[in-house]
Structures are given as C-alpha cells and as structure tokens.
C-alpha cells in the first residue's frame, strides 16, 4: 500500500464567543483538514489545529504541509510511521502541528486497512472513556457562571478556569464565585497559560489552593523550566507542564529535574501519536502522570488524542475534549464520539472512527 495523494483543506470555524487565555485571544478556529489517499482505496483523515500565539500560525502550518511535508509522504507505505516521521524531521525542524496531522492520517489508514479502531493498535482499551474538561475563558464572570450551569446540566464534570488575564485579586474573586456555583457538582482546575511572572508565582498559586484545584497548569513562561520546578516543589497542588513540554526531549528534561507533577500531552506539540506515546513512557518512568491536552481540534483531531488516552495507562487526568462538543458552532464529522456522564467514549469503527461531514467542511473552507 502506498500513499498517492494528500489534499489540504484550510478552514475557518466560528466559535460561540471569544476566548481570552494567558497566552492570547481566540476569535475563530483556523484548522487544516488533511485527506490522505492510498492506492488501496483507503482514505485517511487528519487535522492540524494551529494557533499563532501558542506556537504556529495557520498560514505557516499550511505552507509547511504543502511545500515540505506532503510531497515527502507521497509514495510511502503508511505502516512505516517511524521511518516517515524521521524523514520529515530531516526536512523540517519542528513543524509539529503539520507532522501531527500527517501522522494521525497514517494511523487512520492503518486502522481502516486492518479493520481495527485505533486504540487497539496502541495497547487496547485500557479505559472505556476519557473525562472531558471544559475550559472557562470568556473572562466575564457572569457569562461564565451561566456557562458552567448550562454545562453541568449537559453532563460536564470538569472545569478548567483560564486565569492570569485580569489582576490576581479579580481572579480570586472570580474563582470564589465559580466555586460557589460549582459546589461539589464538578471538579475545578486552573490554567495560567504562562501568564504569571516568576516572582509572584508561588504566592499566587498558594492563594489559589483555597479553591482546591486538581492541578494548576503552566504558571510561568514555557522556557522557565527552573521556575516551574521551584513552583512545583513549593506548592502542594500538582503543577502541570503544558507549553514547557512539546517533545519527548522536553519531557525528559522535566522528568530528570522533577520540574512538574503532571505533563500535558498534545499531539500538535509532540508531532503525533507515536511521540505522544514516548512522552507518556518517559513520564511514567519518572512517576509523572499525563493529561490529554488539545489545541482547538474538531472531532477529527480529537479522535487521535482520544484513542491515545484510551489506550495509555499513564494519561490519567482526562483531556481538553470540549472543543467540538461545546466550543465550535458545528463539528466537522457526521459521527462524533459519544459524550456520556462526563466521559467521551470512542466509536468502535476502524481507524480514528469518525467520518468527515463534507457539507460542513465545504461551508467552512477558506
């Protein structure tokens, strides 16, 4: 079996309301869908979910895919994932967003060829479903309280509050009000997206411990691993590394220095499932659990993270699976995975297990 063609479809997907996070603002989602064709008649799908303020922009990801990555996968055997990804590494350093999209399409093809859901090729169904975390980020507390109430009714059990945009005192007030509404109906998590200065981080995080969050994510800039380590060692609440860990080498650095308590794996950061697995293995050996982070994927990209999290014991903190269910105005697939009682449960179909809704894809095409 050989790859014969790859189509790239850049999209602009509208969202309910603007999101403000520590690292930047989001007003619409500019994902790129890829369709990978083979001479066996099997088509694999993938998705890149870029975000300029985080790492890569949609235009640069498109260029990397179109000019560098896609031409170098034509003619390859989709089973040869390590070989292909190493080849792509020699052509582009980094470029993990495009590489992730390509790699998940390879896995989709393999799953479809073998007639197996992807989780069966990654270690099997270790857990039936993955806990869905919703990120609260409109930064208008009254809107957020209504949002939380509505989502609790819809079955969401985990809320991750994006902090660090407003003043710290305002965040505290906001969290007080959220906790009052949330009560014991849901689990609270906090994400700073790199927005605290190091000298305040320990003090601020300590003050947030009043709210008993499950973890506090990426308090300081991604490059300040020493700062992250200091905070992790000073604070009782687990500190999760997100932007500080892209690659397995980054994970090794955190593991060696015990610089974080949890690591967020995002396929867009790692450059695909295989490297996500490697990060999970490195973290596991250092007794550091992982989280299934997402950028802004629809159910296409979400599927890849979902299958990995279902099959990987060490990815035990759930994931940012809310985007296609509760952020996008419309999802890109006909058959999203079932969301039930707070968990996303993977479809049993082969490969990623989801089918593109071509009408919607066309509608959002740029």
């Amino acid at each position: 079996m050989k790859i014969t063609k790859v189509d790239l479809i850049p999209l602009n997907i509208p969202i309910g309301h603007q999101r403000l996070l520590g690292v930047g603002a989001l007003s619409s989602i500019e994902n790129i869908i890829i369709k990978m064709y083979t001479d066996a008649g099997i088509i694999g799908i993938g998705e890149a979910s870029p975000w300029g303020v985080f790492a890569e922009s949609s235009k640069s990801v498109y260029v990397i895919l179109n000019n560098y990555l896609v031409p170098n996968v034509i003619g390859e055997d989709p089973f040869s994932i390590e070989k292909i990804m190493h080849k792509l590494d020699k052509i582009v350093v980094g470029g993990s967003f495009g590489k992730a999209a390509i790699e998940m399409a390879l896995f989709d093809i393999i799953g479809k060829y073998l007639g197996q859901p992807l989780y069966n090729l990654l270690g099997g169904m270790y857990r039936n479903g993955v806990k869905l975390s919703y990120s609260v980020s409109s930064q208008d507390v009254d809107v957020e309280l209504k949002e939380i109430e509505t989502l609790i009714e819809k079955g969401v059990k985990i809320f991750k509050i994006k902090t660090g945009i407003k003043r710290h005192e305002e965040d505290i007030e906001r969290l007080r009000r959220i906790i009052k509404v949330l009560g014991n109906r849901g689990e609270l998590r906090i994400d700073y997206n790199q927005s605290i200065v190091r000298e305040n981080a320990i003090k601020y995080c300590r003050q947030l411990e009043e709210f008993n969050p499950t973890f506090i994510e990426q308090p300081v800039p991604f490059w300040d691993v020493e700062g992250l380590e200091m905070i992790s060692k000073a604070i009782d609440t687990p500190i999760m590394a997100d932007e500080s860990v892209f690659t397995p080498q980054d994970a090794m650095k955190i593991a060696k220095n015990n610089a974080a308590d949890i690591i967020s794996i995002k396929l867009m950061k790692s450059g695909g499932i295989k490297r996500g697995q490697k990060i999970a293995a490195i973290s596991e050996s250092a007794n550091i659990p992982c989280y299934a982070g997402l950028m802004w994927e629809s159910s296409v990209g979400l599927s890849a993270s979902l299958h990995l999290a279902v099959a990987t014991k060490n990815i035990s903190y759930g994931g940012d699976l809310y985007i296609p269910y509760f952020l996008m105005n419309q999802d890109l697939v006909k058959n999203p995975h079932r969301f039930e009682e707070g968990f996303v449960i993977p479809n049993e179909g082969p490969g990623l297990g989801v089918e593109l809704d071509e009408k919607i894809v066309s509608k959002f095409k740029m």
């Binding site: 089973f79 390590e82 070989k83 270690g123 397995p248 060696k256 050996s285």
Partner: protein, 373 residues
C-alpha cells in the same frame, strides 16, 4: 478474539560449545515455550529463557517459570482479548511483582498473535519497518573468555568470514588477560572492526578504569557493564574517565531503572533485550526514554532460540536508530533450533522476515525432541 488456552512447554537445549562469561559457564539452555491459543484458531508463540542465576537478577529456574505462568499469569491471560495489551500487563503486574522475563514471554506471544491475526509482521505494530536487514554482532552470543591466542583465532576467522562487528566476553580474575585478549585480537584483525567487550558486571571502579584506559590504546568502542549492576556511581566514574562508550544491560530491567541511569549520567548506550526486559511493550518504552535522553540504543537478545530471536528482530526492524546489530543465528550456539527455516549458522548479515507476526513457525518435531515434560 479471545485467548482460550496457554500451553507451556519446557525445553532442554544442548549447546555446541559452552559459553564462558565472567560469572560462569553456560553448558545448556532450559527455555520455556509458550503457545497462546485463541478461539479463532490463531496461535501466538513466545519463549522464556531460564539460565543460571549467576548471569543476572531476575533469572528464574525452569520450574519457577512454569509455576509463575501456570499459577499467576495464566489467569490474567485466559479469556482476554489480545489487543488489550495494557490491561493484560496491569493484571499480570497485580498478580505478581517482577518476573519481567516471564511476562516478556507472554508479551511476545501476544504480539505474535496480533500480527498473525491481522496478517501483518509484528514490526508494523511497533511503528513500521525502518530496516530490513542487519550486520550481525559476532560471534555466537559473544566470544567466550578463553586463552588470548584462541580468542584471537576465533576473531580472525570471524572477520575473514564476513563479520563486521565483534563482541568479546570479559571479566577475569587477572584483568590483564582481558587486555591481552583485546591486544591479540587487534593484532589479528586490525583496527577497523568495532568491538564491544561485555564484562557482565565484573570489576570494581578503579580496575575498570585502568584496564579500559589500556584497552583504548588498542581500540575498543564499547564496554558493557564493566562494574557491578547496582553501582551506578561507579559506572558514572568509569564513564567520565574513559573514552570508550559505556553500555548498560543488567543495570536496566525496567524504564524506572533507565531513568536512574540517565540521572546518574552512567551510560552512553542501553542494551535493550525484548526477550528479557518485559517484551516488546517494555522495549518500546525503554527505547523512547533512551532516544529522549540521547542514549544509543543497542537492540539485543540474551540466549534465544529462533523464537526469541524473531522478537529481537521485530524490535530491531522498527527502532529508528540502532547502534549495533544483534547476535547471529541461534545455531551458532544451539545444536538444533526449534523453528522451521532457522537462520543458517555463521550468518554475518541477516534479513528480517516479513511474514505475519514474529515471522516464524515452530518445527514441532524438534520441539517434541527437546521437551522435558
């Protein structure tokens, strides 16, 4: 698909010549073959090696292996869907702590099963094929510790025969004999062939540094386990003191062990043997950790039949960067191999099978001949 039966077959395998290591002598091998039968008719094959416990921690007797399989691991496997590797491992780890080489045999049999069921070679379940053939690390399972003239003769014959890398066994009451062996080998074969000496954890730190510094003069590329497996600080000191690349083997049985080695900066390379270090599942994790820490990966085997060898080959086929080849044909040391189409003895370059699963079938006649139950 469900596993309906686990068959265990103890084997006694005679050798052509004893293997002499620093810790002792292997005059025979006593393996346990595993066959996992499923309701679809597909059968997965694995093996577990029992050998003298001087070799390393975690070696189990043949009787012990059979008991662990029957009493602890079989209940974890029966009625399970073989795709559920992570779940099965969790059950096995809950049933009994350790015994990684026994669990390795089960893991390998599961991978054989999955490959056969799906009609694909096992390396396609490990990330796909990166290489289709390899240069063998000769000779046999390493050139036995012996008189320097004899070792040099074997090395010379090997290089003439086409071997491109050699492994010598080391670790001697008289350390200068190790130096003498290397000296004579180099006189016989020149300086081009990369050599690894496997000391199997014999020396103290100072002696190791002294002799490795001497050996550097003659040309030594790799030194495996020069000091005791538990002495990571000592190993780190050796590594800082010499230019020879340090390989860990017995130090690392688990991913947690490897993190410790990396933490202590004790190694340049890790010898990853799927047949004894928790199977292909664990080999994948070990190689991920090594890769991220910049350690060389040396895929390897211990003392397999063609069954265990095929598992090492599946791993070697899929590892992105492998710094050395694996041992050659089991027939270099065993009187008979238990697989149909065994690798011919004295093979210096081996092609990796692309048949489904591990790519091998048993020779049931030979299995019957050597079974001891």
């Amino acid at each position: 698909m469900r596993i309906i039966k686990m068959e265990t077959i103890p084997l006694h395998l005679p050798v052509k010549a004893p293997l002499i290591e620093s810790g002792g002598v292997f005059n025979e091998f006593n393996h346990v073959l595993i066959k996992l039968h499923t309701d679809t008719g597909t059968v997965g094959i694995g093996e577990i090696e029992a050998y003298p416990s001087f070799e390393r921690l975690g070696v189990e007797t043949q009787e012990g292996i059979l008991a662990i399989l029957k009493n602890y691991l079989e209940p974890c496997i029966l009625d399970q869907d073989p795709f559920n590797l992570v779940n099965i491992w969790q059950k096995m780890d809950k049933a009994v702590e350790g015994y990684l080489r026994v669990k390795a045999g089960v893991d390998i049999a599961l991978y054989d099963l999955l490959g056969k069921h799906l009609g694909i070679p096992t390396y396609n379940l490990l990330g796909g094929q990166v290489r289709s053939e390899y240069d063998v690390e000769g000779v046999g399972y390493g050139i036995s510790i012996d008189k320097p003239e004899k070792v040099a003769q074997i090395a010379k014959k090997a290089v003439i025969g086409g071997y491109k890398e050699l492994e010598l066994k080391g670790g001697d009451e008289n350390p200068d004999m190790d130096i003498e062996r290397l000296k004579l080998v180099r006189e016989a074969i020149g300086g081009k062939i990369p050599i690894k000496i496997d000391f199997n954890g014999y020396y103290d730190t100072k002696t190791a540094i002294r002799i490795l510094k001497e050996m550097e003069k003659y040309g030594l590329q790799w030194a495996e386990q020069p000091v005791k497996y538990w002495d990571l600080e000592g190993l780190s000191m050796v590594r800082q003191a010499v230019n020879v690349k340090i390989v860990v083997d017995e130090c690392v049985e688990t991913p947690q062990d490897l993190i410790k080695v990396i933490d202590k900066k004790a190694a340049d390379a890790v010898h990853i043997k799927p047949t004894i270090k928790g199977g292909l599942s664990t080999a994948k994790k070990l190689s991920a950790i090594a890769e991220a820490a910049g350690l060389d990966v040396i895929p390897g085997t211990s003392a397999p039949t063609g069954v265990g060898m095929s598992a090492a080959q599946s791993f070697l086929a899929s590892v992105p960067k492998a710094s050395r080849g694996i041992h050659g044909s089991p027939l270099d040391i065993l009187v008979e191999d238990i697989i149909a189409d065994p690798i011919p003895p004295n093979s210096t370059r081996i092609k990796i099978s692309n048949k489904p699963g591990l790519g091998i079938e048993l020779n049931e006649k030979v299995v019957k001949k050597y079974r001891v139950d």
